[in-house]
Each structure stands twice: as structure tokens, then as C-alpha cells.
Symmetry: C2
Subunit: 97 residues, 2 copies
DNA sequence: TTACAAGTTGGCAAAATTACCAAATACTTT
DNA sequence: AAAGTATTTGGTAATTTTGCCAACTTGTAA
């Protein structure tokens, strides 16, 4: 693959990849209004807390969310509100199917 | 994983997954103004034409692009212009890093 | 009809992703 | 200090994605 093209689009692709999992899209929807802890999120989605922690880490590494430690909880919130607009476009796409 | 949550977010995640590869983001950028054939795209990106065909198929299955056969060429163009706005948000995210 | 070019599909191996468990860390509370 | 709760990290197996080659299909042109 051409290196210039790869350099230009790889970082952007990483952001989309971070959003390409149902659990991570749920997270974004869930914390858009109020911050939530890892345990709260894992219990709602019904997955292992370690799995949830890793999903949150993927979003955090891409600066899509950010965490804040309070006591021994970590509360996460949206760092990039524009991701919500992504959703609107995704839904338009789905409605075409 | 909770089934209601999975049902609500799986389809949307598929759209993001379709966009989560540098070659596929390049395609979207390349055909945003003018339609292009599989061979043209594969030569620019420098990958096998069969690989390019598969990438195009992933985008087509998600209704992000659409193809039109002319002679023995297939020209692809954008079907959902709003994906370009996704890019703008992705870049904002990248600039934070 | 024969040869050629564009595109698609199937198969396979390498790489990446995902989810669980177990163990480690961080912080509280008794 | 000891026990308990929340979170993170390492390891591993199952699944998915990716890219090439080879073979096949479709349509063109000699």
C-alpha cells in the first residue's frame, strides 16, 4: 500500500475503529448527559468489568472520552461531542438498507 | 452482552466498521468529486485489484457508495455525502492527541 | 470465435480484535 | 494493618479482518 496514502488516512481510520463496536457506541450514548463509572456501565451492558475497562480505554486513547478519578471510582464523560453527529449520519445510512 | 443494547447499536457499529480502514477512507475522499473505477483506485493505492474490489464491496454493502457498470468498468461514487462530515470530527479528535 | 481487459469470488495464512479469567493496583473503611 | 471495593493489566482462546493468489465471470475488440 502506498505510504503517503497510509500516512494520511491511518490516524482517521483509528478513530472510526474506536467507534466500531456496539458496546463502545452504547458508552457514548450513555455518558452523553451524565458521567458514569466502569462498574455502572459494565452492569448495564452485562459484560465483565475488565472487558468494559478495556473498551473505555480504547475510547480514551482516541480522546473521545475522558476519565476522572473520584475515590476509587473512575467516572467517564464525552470529550468530543461531535461524535453524536456521526450517529445521525450512520442512521441515515442504515435507513437506506 | 445485553440483547436490547446489542440490537440497538450493532447496526450503527457496522457502519463505523466499514469506515475504519485507511484504504476505505481514501476511497471516500477520492470519489467525493468524481466517480472512479476499481482499477484506477487500486493503482493509486498500490494494492491488488481484488483487494480493492473487496474494500469497495464493504462500502457498497453499507450503502456508503454505489457502483455503476459502464462497458466492463464499474465506476463508484459516494451515496451518503454526510460521511465527509465524519472526517471533520475525526480530525478534531486527532488534533487533540 | 479468439484473445484481452476489468471485476468478482473462493481459499488460505497472517494479523488484529474480542471476552473471559486471574492477578495486580489503587483507594476506602473498619 | 486487614479486608473490601473499583479498576486495570496480562494471558489466552475464539473469532474476525485483511491481502494476496488463482480461478471464474463479464464484456470488449480484433
Amino acid at each position: 500500500m502506498n505510504k503517503d496514502i497510509e500516512n494520511e488516512f491511518l490516524e482517521k481510520a483509528e478513530v472510526f475503529k474506536a467507534l466500531s463496536h456496539p458496546t463502545r457506541l452504547f458508552i457514548i450514548d450513555a455518558i452523553k448527559d451524565k458521567r458514569m463509572s466502569v462498574k455502572e456501565l459494565s452492569e448495564i451492558v452485562e459484560i465483565d468489568i475488565s472487558t468494559m475497562s478495556k473498551h473505555l480505554n480504547i475510547l480514551k486513547n482516541n480522546k473521545i472520552i475522558q476519565g476522572e478519578k473520584v475515590k476509587n471510582f473512575v467516572y467517564y464523560r464525552l470529550a468530543i461531542p461531535c461524535v453524536l453527529e456521526f450517529m445521525t449520519c450512520a442512521v441515515k445510512t442504515i435507513n437506506k438498507k
